[in-house]
């Protein structure tokens, strides 16, 4: 039994819940995707998108279009919607909305640090950062030589500061350390977000627990598959898994010692929610695993809208828009490469 959110939620959150539900109805439908899949060129895609909510963002783009341009402009729409919701939100919704952007912040930090290690220009790197993950002192990341300096000079004043306690070392930054830093930060962020949602309680805690647990489990599977055949040891791999989720702790123990995709499958098939995912892919192959996970995630995100008076709808909307942008990117790439027969390999329909 929840805490009577129906009586009080609309006082502070009613307007924004209505806004986000309105945004949700603007997501592309199956008929939109069918039209887009039949396009011959990127200009055709632009023409079809002009009839959707992306129209104003793409109409001034000159031909020939590039796939990265389509993704950038569609992302700008998401950023505008998010910023409108954030500036209208009060506590604790404003903190909840900020939590959604910490993942992008981590990606931007790693992008700047990696690019600097490879002697790239900082301005060039800043242009490639995700707009939702920007913060004031991000350009100063380029001067740090190790993680201790990274924390002391820049990140101590950002929301990522609490996540750094596990990865502060004086070792110089290299590709392996940066990868471990990325995954350790993301692990700490997910756990912090999970604990915050638990404190909120009610429908928000229940629905967000399910969504974040799925995210943690998917991360564990991806880390396992991507680390097969690399120098990452079993102990290091185990340390990157989050301390919550359906797979915690016994599934993580088995995943940590998996050496190929079939062993990962045998671990995951012990958990009923993931049996259906692995039933869609054949033995020994992992190409369609991403799509299977995305489809399951979209199903869970859509279910979040079935209840009212909770904050999980905001998280679900942001993730559904991200999926839509991924779909548009994939369709654009297939059209640009004249591989239209492969479009349905990775497009995930939302409705």
């Amino acid at each position: 039994m929840y805490g009577f959110e129906a009586l009080t939620f609309n006082i502070h959150g009613g307007y924004l819940e209505a806004i986000v539900r309105g945004h949700r109805s603007g997501l592309l439908t199956a008929s939109d995707y069918n039209n887009l899949c039949q396009c011959e060129t990127l200009d055709d895609i632009k023409m079809h998108l002009s009839a959707t909510e992306y129209g104003p963002y793409l109409q001034n783009e000159p031909s020939p279009l590039h796939t990265t341009t389509v993704v950038e402009k569609c992302t700008l729409k998401l950023v505008d919607e998010y910023k409108h919701m954030l500036c209208q939100a009060t506590e604790p919704l404003s903190t909840f909305l900020e939590y959604i952007t910490y993942g992008y912040m981590i990606d931007n930090v790693v992008l700047i640090v990696t690019g600097t290690l490879h002697e790239r220009d900082v301005q060039e790197l800043l242009e490639k950062c995700h707009p939702l993950g920007m913060f004031d002192s991000i350009a100063t990341l380029a001067v740090a030589q190790n993680m201790r300096e990274l924390y002391r000079l820049v990140l101590v004043d950002t929301p990522l500061a609490p996540y750094f306690s596990e990865c502060i070392t004086s070792e110089d930054l290299d590709d392996m350390n940066i990868e471990i830093m990325r995954n350790t930060l993301y692990k700490a962020y997910l756990e912090d977000f999970y604990n915050f949602c638990q404190k909120l309680g009610g429908a928000t805690a229940e629905i967000m627990s399910d969504l974040l647990a799925f995210e943690a489990d998917r991360r564990a599977v991806n880390i396992t598959i991507n680390s097969i055949g690399t120098e990452l040891t079993r102990d290091d791999r185990r340390k990157l898994y989050s301390n919550f989720g359906l797979l915690y702790p016994y599934g993580h123990e088995e995943l940590a010692i998996s050496e190929d995709i079939d062993q990962v499958r045998s671990v995951m098939e012990k958990y009923p929610p993931y049996q259906s995912i692995f039933a869609k892919i054949s033995y020994g192959e992992s190409q369609m695993l991403d799509k299977a996970f995305y489809e399951e995630e979209v199903k869970r995100l859509c279910l979040a809208f079935e209840q009212q008076f909770h904050y999980a709808v905001f998280f679900a909307y942001m993730r559904l828009r991200e999926q839509e942008i991924r779909n548009l990117m994939w369709i654009s790439e297939c059209v640009a490469q004249n591989q239209k027969s492969r479009i349905h390999d990775s497009v995930v329909f939302i409705f």
């Binding site: 993704v71 931007n108 790239r120 991806n222």
Partner: protein
């Protein structure tokens, strides 16, 4: 006329031998032309596959993780080098350039280890009269390319070098990105083969032209 008859009757095998040599040259030229066109088709399909896998990896890992801004601009030794040699078939007038690629060359400990790819099997199969189908990306399965036995680099070292070159995108990358790397590596091998085939094709054509001029003269 009697002298001609005496000449032809006294050296019937010589004229037949010349015709056989000319036919051999024509066949060599046509075979290398066929191999060249088949390799071009195979290269096109391998590159297409590589670009698709790269797009698939970007879709899986995200645009920020696979981007041109992450490529390393530090000065570093080349992982792959390309050599041009003069190859002589028979007489010095029949020399033509041949190309070899040294993949994952390492200059550690003062040793140079490499793996060379030669097209010897393709040239041997040019003598067969069986039909080949173009437009197939299975060229590498049909023609088992020989690998020079002078390779001193092990498979695990090759895997390490591959992982090292992919590490610009991070150390935990998707299998799709690794697949794209292998596709582009295969395409690079194909380009070297095409260069070799084209070189021998042009050499065969030159010989044929000289033969025809001799016949007309």
């Amino acid at each position: 006329m009697e002298d001609d008859d005496r000449c032809s009757s006294s050296n019937p095998g010589g004229i037949g031998q010349e015709e056989e040599d000319e036919d051999g040259k024509v066949l060599r030229f046509l075979d290398s032309l066929d191999s060249y066109l088949t390799l071009l088709d195979a290269l096109s399909s391998t590159l297409r596959q590589g670009w698709f896998e790269l797009a698939s990896a970007r879709h899986s890992m995200g645009s920020s993780r696979i981007s041109s801004v992450l490529l390393d601009q530090k000065v570093q030794s080349a992982a792959t080098t390309f050599q041009v040699r003069k190859s002589i078939d028979g007489s010095p007038s029949e020399s033509h350039p041949s190309f070899a690629i040294s993949k994952w060359a390492s200059s550690r400990n003062g040793k140079c280890s490499f793996r060379e790819l030669e097209v010897s099997r393709v040239q041997k199969t040019s003598k067969n009269s069986e039909l080949r189908h173009r437009g197939s990306s299975n060229f590498y399965e049909e023609h088992d390319l020989t690998i020079n036995a002078s390779s001193t680099i092990s498979d695990s070292d090759v895997q390490k070098e591959r992982s090292k070159s992919l590490s610009v995108f991070g150390t935990l990358v998707s299998p799709k990105l690794r697949g794209a790397q292998v596709s582009f590596e295969t395409a690079l091998d194909a380009i070297v083969e095409i260069a070799n085939i084209r070189s021998s094709m042009l050499s065969a054509f030159t010989q044929l032209q000289q033969e025809m001029k001799k016949d007309l003269g």
